[in-house]
């Protein structure tokens, strides 16, 4: 066997690993998306679920999936931001249930049905808090009904609404906006039209982005 053969093999594999990694990195890196003023305004004009001040200088628009674990993990820090910046931040939640999660769409319908009775955010928080239980349960629908009962909703109306056309249209509208903005993953969070990527999509990253957006608004 030639003496150089093992070293040539090692060099070839090192090159392949590095090259393959670089190609993968380029294709997996999230695109930088910045919404135009028009796209941001169009979002504000729609009837949306929001917490915070309606005329706040900073808008956080989240496309979320109730069955997605990272969405569940970021929900707490986003809520903490809403409390920390009550006058400066408007937080919008939009439905983007992914087909890969079996109960995600049903959960989105449940949240929207609760919203028709004025309890969207209560259901939103409850769904994320109990995510691990219902997302792995065979009878998720029964769990959603029990959550509705827990929140004091009119159960008959809730059952009717979550199978109704209104909630479907609402979820479809959010999905349409997601598609228009190029959203493919959850959580996708825009702060004043800029998509958060990588380390920005962390509690400290989001806070820094809100602070930066406030500073940019305050600048003459």
């Amino acid at each position: 066997m030639r003496r150089w053969l093992p070293f040539a093999l090692i060099a070839a594999v090192a090159l392949a690993a590095f090259g393959g990694g670089a190609i993968l990195y380029r294709s997996y890196r999230q695109k930088v998306i910045t919404l135009t003023k028009e796209q941001q305004e169009a979002g504000r004009r729609e009837s949306v679920h929001f917490r915070g001040h309606p005329k706040a200088p900073v808008t956080l628009e989240e496309f979320g999936d109730f069955a997605c674990p990272p969405c569940g993990r970021i929900a707490g820090p986003v809520h903490a931001l809403e409390r920390a910046y009550p006058q400066q931040l408007q937080s919008i939640f939009r439905e983007f249930p992914l087909a890969v999660h079996p109960h995600a769409l049903a959960a989105a319908y449940a949240a929207e049905a609760a919203g028709l009775q004025g309890k969207f955010w209560e259901m939103h928080d409850l769904l994320y808090r109990e995510q691990r239980i219902w997302s792995e349960a065979a009878g998720a629908d029964q769990l959603f009904s029990s959550y509705a009962r827990l929140l004091g909703l009119d159960l008959a109306l809730f059952e009717k609404d979550r199978k109704g056309e209104t909630v479907r249209a609402r979820v479809a509208a959010d999905q349409k906006r997601a598609a228009a903005l190029g959203v493919t993953i959850t959580p996708s969070i825009f702060i004043n039209g800029k998509l958060m990527t990588g380390p920005e999509l962390s509690p400290s990253g989001l806070r820094a982005a809100v602070d930066a957006a406030l500073a940019a608004k305050a600048a003459p």
Binding site: I10, V13, G21, Q30, P69, R132, I185
Partner: protein
């Protein structure tokens, strides 16, 4: 002495040269598969894809956990280093550089222990399994088995 190729007079007796070459080559192939897996997981980590849900079933529960990195270094990147080292040493061993057995076995041993720890974390702490991590675990177990099977046996004292 480190780069000296072994002749028929090896310092440690190996069961059968041809068999050992085949086994080391197999170990090198397994290490390449592990390297590809670890590169993929590293890319997921470095691009932030491990912290989101996408169109395919992901491993976000595991890869976005605090156990997925040691300080600032992603565990997957350590996996890249580990598998690449194992590949290098097993290729050298397969080509007759028998001194390479010891570092390969040491690294596989460390990876074996790390794999046990990560399996424990997935099963009992995170309650979630990542298919890519399980694939890596299976490869490490196979590598450990091959390393044990090819342990050089000292010739009996005459």
């Amino acid at each position: 002495m480190m780069s000296r190729r072994t002749s028929s007079k090896t310092p440690a007796q190996i069961p059968a040269n041809r068999t050992v070459t085949i086994v080391y080559s197999l170990a090198a192939l397994l290490a390449v598969a592990g390297l590809a897996d670890a590169v993929y997981l590293s890319v997921l980590h470095l691009t932030g894809q491990s912290a989101v849900c996408g169109a395919s079933v992901g491993c976000s529960q595991v890869l976005a956990s605090k156990y997925a990195q040691i300080g600032p270094v992603p565990v997957a990147l350590l996996g890249v280093l580990g598998y690449f080292s194992v590949f290098s040493f097993t290729v050298l061993a397969a080509c007759g550089y028998l001194w390479a057995y010891r570092p390969a076995a040491t690294i596989v041993g460390l990876m074996f222990l790390a794999t046990l720890w990560f399996l424990y974390l997935q099963a009992f702490v995170l309650h979630a399994f990542c298919p890519y991590c399980m694939f890596s675990a299976a490869l490490t177990f196979l590598l450990a088995g091959l390393m044990v099977a090819t342990t050089p046996v000292k010739p009996p004292a005459s």
